[in-house]
Symmetry: C3
Subunit: 412 residues, 3 copies
């Protein structure tokens, strides 16, 4: 019956191939009671003038990944994979010899049914952590620990927040592929993920990841909406993670910064070299830097990671109205433990929400109100492309001298 | 293979169509290793003289409801849906313009694999709460909090009970459809749900929800049995929830009461209007009233909810030997937060079990002993039907003056 | 597609039937994205000279066992079942009228998605406990309770360990059937189970359970490897459980012991009869004895359980280098509560890890280092076979007088 469904969809879409309306295919839908186990489409059938792309949806098997959905988009130059079952996270991306993602000790794409967020003192999230880009949120994004909330009888009660929140372990309710029939034929993977409960948040995130055939870029474009009637706090943090080949000894974080503050005393010790990476180092303990970025005149900023030879890099461009804070997570541990860095634009830093609230970094949405955020990721290949990024950042940095704090914020 | 199974079942049942033995169809069975993804039957094939009913079993897809079973019974006049995957809860019912159920902020029929009961200080149950009627129990039914138990080494230890217990998030082990071939052709959906563990409760509930073609009633008829060798505490509470059109400003709880006690100080403040409902009210905090019902000479009582115009209502009839306590949960919050009331007959009130035990409201079952409970739900349409309910209740109420307490029980 | 896969595998294997290389069939594989819902093979197709064996893989349905894999091997004389979904545990074994396993109050083969290990003060493991042999481990094997660990920011933090660890509730990532074409045609079921997380253990266990056609023995042969770069603590305990017919009044634990220590004061009371079993006894609280076994000159020891008439028994043979400690768990409670005993060779006793660490019983693996353990289980039928076991044990026991302690270890 599922195969019939696909055929019908394809037939109906081909009939309208002349139309200029985008081709829309539903892969998963709570509303329509649809879930396709496998599916694929290629450019030749939809955009004959740009035939060299494809999209494949499959279901993963074995171990903790039994039943996990995976959508892979190949735009002809760059390919990336999205995980609807894990909150529309991006597993990885690849263009020639440049790989976005990292080699986590977690080897499977773990189904949320196996994640117990409260495990290990609230660090259970780490049993599934291996994505290139995972969203943290939506009720909270930070470290585990106790925070207060109003319970069902109207009393202030306490709850144990868990690391990085729930959204990365909630399966998407509606997943669509949308292909523009007009140039540049943008290919969009849309997924709505609901973080809803009674007597709690009613937050929804409409995620979109898109690219155009032949491009070196991937765009994330998300809208978070408070579907409850009461005002609701929220947080989001885009945990974008990179290992080799971008990360290596001498690789560098680049970005125009207004201020950098070490997350804790351990990070303070290396504040002078906060933007430079070490080789894989056994026993390395994570160092985290909290940054306020500088933006260009249009309110947008660009950050990135570049390798030592400055011939491979990734740039991330976004608005500082949408994502005013950046967390730089350096975890240059040995390879088997996870050699990785995270460039993490967000509405806040990853302290426990009770600390972020104290510093005014827990935004609220009124009923029906939305928060939109967009990040353009571009893979940079060759010294010229990387040099362009560095020039662009230096130009923005000229607007102000960076302030480098040597002590963490006073969190007590 | 599953389709073959269905065909065989159907064939064997049609051969015996002349028999008067009821038609029994197994939808799920641990014993027989059966689980049908989809199935349906219509009255014309089984009871040609009463052809206008049908039963449909389907599997839900997408988001947190991927893989959830749903059985819908349409008796020709009234339809209702049962969720085997969620402890045989009743999702909703409908007859013409009368809907039983409510519009919860939780929009999907959540698979138990996504429920972490211990979440949010023991309120995780609320992430799946959207049914018309969900059973709370069986080990405990009340508020989260610490209670003591005897652990594996024979010591008294403590455990954190979670809101409303586990039974609503345990999938049924045996599910059967049973159709009586003799008038009035009662249609029964039976499901056995096991709440069993080693060094813990070995409780089983044999649930049954039934109706007859063309009727405005649904009957729940359950038997809880202690399958362990040692005596075992248990609790059950039938959390029946109603939103519009029954619930509206001026709607009213009706029922013959011996005593009403507010659950807490906040409920005390509105004790004078405990039976009357407000319009959807932003910022409303739940008010809960604990009632001891009066019964008629046959030991049965009838309670209900009627709309303002007294032309739409629901009645719930049951024995006070079986269900001696009623909890009235008023949650007339704004619609987006959940505008709903619960009429909840039970063996106890929804305090934490340690409090209920103190008040003698935690019954025990000896080895092999059962507790049976039955509730008849009837949809009332028109002023005459609603008036009949009110008359009936007033007649019972004449047996004693209600005692309305203004202060909660002393729970310390 | 799955059926095609099987056919192809079969075809390719039959072509090479003349070869002496073993026949290898993949049932589940993360690497190859394979999961077979059902499969079977019989000896006649592979080893015509030894045709009387078969292997069947099926998927269980209904209740909490929906989707659980079960592999049953029948060697022509003895049959046993393996549960890939539950960490390759062994559900039971049978030879004629001798059954290995027990009648747990948990009747289904529970899918890990329904197990919340942290439940009931860390005793959630007990909701799925009904196997003949379940491995406890790998990060810890003991009682619930707080232990310290190093968290993501390099600080010492605390976590609540849960009873018997995680490995029994992790699904296998790679499952293979391997059949030797050369006599004695050993049949192996291999499954790799990963207990991996970021900022935590990266332990892998390659399990193997095997038998030969017509034999009365089953061999477990496991290798645990630390796949992280940092040294890693680990523990393993083989929780082998027996009910009737081996367990009965007057049944006896047999084994050559260097030292026996009661686990707690309650066990102390019955230290004199520690090796003798009672009839099913209502209200019996578990008694646990911690033993250091004596080994033969080859470093191997043999323990077992024999019935009262000494005509039915099980022997377990293993190396005390690999498994230096034995826990004897006596739970001769009434049948409905679980009449069972566990003979549990391990790297340690089942105290909380923090206590075991104090006594030096938490081994560590360097990066890439492995720990191998093998146990041969043999069913003994008739007085002669049982007498042979007893003789063998007495011979080893002659090497030293057993020390029977009357007080538990000082665990504070």
């Amino acid at each position: 019956m599922k195969l019939i469904l696909i055929s019908l969809l394809m037939a109906s879409s081909l009939i309208h191939a002349q139309d200029k309306a985008p081709l829309v295919i539903t892969l998963t839908s709570v509303d329509k009671n649809i879930h396709l186990d496998s599916w694929q489409i290629s450019g030749s059938a939809v955009t004959p003038e740009k035939p060299d792309w494809s999209i494949t949806k499959k279901t993963l098997h074995g171990g903790k990944q039994e039943g996990v959905d995976l959508i892979t988009v190949d735009n002809g130059k760059l390919s990336f994979s999205v995980i609807p079952t894990r909150g529309m996270s991006l597993l990885n991306a690849r263009m020639d010899d440049i790989y976005l993602g990292w080699d986590s000790p977690v080897k499977e794409v773990v189904h949320p049914q196996y994640i117990r967020l409260e495990d290990r003192g609230g660090l259970g999230w780490l049993e599934g952590f291996n994505e290139w880009m995972v969203r943290c949120g939506l009720e909270s994004t930070g470290h585990p620990g106790t925070d207060s909330f109003i319970n069902n009888v109207g009393d202030e009660a306490t709850m144990d927040l868990t690391l990085h929140g729930k959204i990365g372990n909630i399966p998407a309710s509606e997943v669509e592929v949308i292909i523009e029939r007009v140039p540049p034929h943008r290919i969009r993977i849309r997924g709505r993920v609901d973080e809803r409960m009674f007597y709690g948040p009613k937050l929804e995130i409409q995620t979109e990841v898109s690219t155009t055939p032949g491009s070196a870029s991937v765009r994330i474009s998300d809208t978070i909406t408070n579907r409850g009637d009461d005002p609701q706090e929220f947080q989001i943090l885009y945990h974008a993670n990179y290992g080799p080949p971008l990360l290596e000894e001498g690789a560098q974080f680049v970005g125009p910064v207004k201020k950098v503050i070490p997350f804790n005393d351990h990070a303070s010790e290396s504040i002078d070299s906060y933007s430079i990476y070490k080789r894989p180092t056994a026993g390395f303990t994570e160092q985290v830097y909290c940054m306020t970025p500088l933006a260009d005149y249009d309110g947008r900023t660009t950050i990135g990671l570049v390798n030592r030879s400055k011939n491979k890099g990734i740039s991330m461009k976004f608005s500082i109205q949408q994502l005013p804070f950046i967390t730089l997570w350096k975890n240059t541990n040995s390879e088997g433990e996870g050699y990785v860095t995270g460039l993490e634009p967000g509405t806040n830093f990853p302290n426990n929400r009770r600390i972020e609230r104290k510093f005014g970094r827990v935004p609220k949405l009124d009923s029906g109100q939305s928060h939109h955020a967009e990040i353009d990721f571009t893979i940079l290949k060759g010294n010229k492309a990387v040099g362009g990024l560095i020039d662009q950042i230096q130009k923005i940095q000229r607007r102000a001298q960076p302030v480098i704090e040597t002590k963490p914020e006073n969190k007590d």
